[in-house]
């Protein structure tokens, strides 16, 4: 593995890990986050209420 390969790997892996860590910490530390922050699983599409 070349030096440039190590550098690109370190930047990519470190960058993505750092960004995800920051985002998760923001989500967990945001007061009342469950009222404003949503995942796909929270979404209740209107067609689910239909009887058909």
């Amino acid at each position: 593995m070349t030096l440039s390969g190590w550098i690109i790997m370190a930047l990519s892996v470190g960058g993505m890990t750092g960004l995800l860590t920051w985002c998760i910490s923001k989500v967990l530390m945001t007061p009342g986050s469950t009222k404003h922050l949503h995942t796909q699983a929270d979404i209740h599409s209107p067609d689910l209420d239909e009887d058909d």
């Binding site: 593995m1 070349t2 440039s4 390969g5 190590w6 690109i8 790997m9 990519s12 892996v13 993505m16 890990t17 960004l19 995800l20 920051w22 985002c23 998760i24 923001k26 989500v27 945001t30 986050s33 404003h36 922050l37 949503h38 995942t39 796909q40 699983a41 929270d42 979404i43 209740h44 599409s45 209107p46 067609d47 689910l48 239909e50 058909d52």
Partner: protein
């Protein structure tokens, strides 16, 4: 694709697995995104990530291949991450428009941008819901899985066990993980357990992804054409079954799957995502768009994002597309006997079938969209008439 039954005919076993997956998908989409799926997303996705981290540790501590001592995990990492190689310089790698097009298509596909999923789910949000932090967290989680877990597990492991010659001659990268990872599990403590858990969770994760891809079409058929859920699921099921039939029938070198994947999963998504960027930055207007994004946002959005969305992104997307178009059409390269995408369409019946299928389904949905627009116009007019009558009464 993978074989369900060791020793069984590959075509029969993979078709059986496809049919089982097909039935599970359409049963779940018919029942709606049930509580079971919600529970799964909440608990099993973190479990999948923990499982992947355990596998990552094992992959990074694997000994060299005893048959070929040169094939070590470090050389596998080099195969994945080195920007230069024996047949290309750094500059050639960076200026290859096909690589940039594939990368953009991949990230648009995995973030569900450009083909209606995000727009459909966004329509279910409330006005003051956060978009900025939610979407950044989803994108970074996706990036972590693809770059860190995918980039450090599958390809280095495949290099270690299968070697560079095998990887270079792969007709398609579909299924590389299904060949490489069982070798990793064979060298792990309780590998059978981790193997079962990983593939089972991965299968369920794939089901949730395909459900989210089916949901916009179901929503369109129900809301646009006024069809009931049964009819919508049946119609979409027929179209999907037709596509699956062609993929199975022309299974040599996965030519139909590969052609569909490129022209729909990369090319079309790229164009549609470019249209989305122009729509947000230029047609809706960057100020109005950012106002929507900033409402309810839990994180501050830097000012330079406006400049990037309005100028940098469209320029980048047009530049990459123009370079790819020039390389593919005007210079028409046929390197080492590999046909270009357009040459495949000209010479291979499977590729021609896939293109015909894409055009047929596109035309069919354009007709449906036209009918839906007329229906919505009619409903709007009837609503206006009713309100006028109420006022006059």
């Amino acid at each position: 694709m993978w074989s369900c039954f060791p020793g069984a005919d590959f075509w029969v076993s993979s078709t059986f697995c496809l049919m089982v997956s097909f039935v599970i998908n359409f049963f779940l989409i018919y029942r709606g995104l049930s509580k079971g799926i919600e529970w799964f997303c909440r608990w099993a996705m973190p479990a999948l990530m923990i499982c992947a981290l355990v596998i990552l540790v094992r992959v990074l501590t694997l000994p060299p291949n005893p048959n070929v001592p040169d094939q070590t995990i470090v050389s596998g990492l080099g195969y994945m991450w080195n920007p230069t190689g024996p047949d290309r310089t750094f500059w050639q790698a960076v200026t290859d428009p096909s690589a940039w097009l594939a990368a953009a298509g991949q990230i648009f596909f995995s973030l569900s941008i450009g083909y209606g999923i995000i727009i459909t789910y966004a329509s279910y949000l409330k006005k003051d819901d956060d978009i900025a932090l939610s979407s950044l967290t989803a994108a970074s989680g996706n990036g972590f899985c693809e770059v860190v877990l995918g980039g450090l597990i599958t390809i280095p492991a495949a290099f270690l066990f299968l070697g560079p010659v095998f990887m270079k001659n792969l007709p398609s990268t579909f299924g590389m993980g299904f060949v490489a990872l069982p070798n990793v599990f064979n060298q792990m403590f309780a590998g059978w357990f981790f193997g079962f858990l990983f593939f089972f969770l991965l299968f369920l994760a794939a089901v949730t992804s395909s459900l989210s891809m089916l949901q916009p079409a179901i929503a369109f058929l129900e809301e646009g054409l006024g069809l009931g859920r049964k009819m919508s699921v049946a119609l979409l099921g027929m179209i999907t079954a037709m596509g699956s039939f062609f993929v199975v029938h022309f299974s040599k070198n996965l030519i139909v799957l590969d052609t569909l994947d490129f022209w729909v999963g990369t090319f079309s998504i790229y164009l549609l995502a470019t249209f989305h960027v122009l729509l947000f930055g230029w047609i809706i207007g960057i100020d109005r768009g950012m106002e929507e994004l900033e409402r309810g946002a839990e994180i501050p959005i830097p000012r330079f994002i406006r400049f990037i969305i309005k100028y940098v992104s469209p320029t980048y997307l047009f530049l990459v597309f123009g370079s790819w178009f020039y390389q593919e059409i005007l210079s028409s390269p046929s390197q080492e006997g590999q046909l270009s995408r357009l040459e495949q369409i000209r010479d291979i019946p499977g590729a021609q079938t896939a293109i015909f299928l894409i055009l047929f389904v596109s035309a069919f949905f354009l007709i449906l969209i036209r009918r839906a627009v007329r229906r919505w116009d009619k409903i709007e007019m009837e609503g206006l008439d009713a309100s006028v009558k109420e006022e006059s009464a």
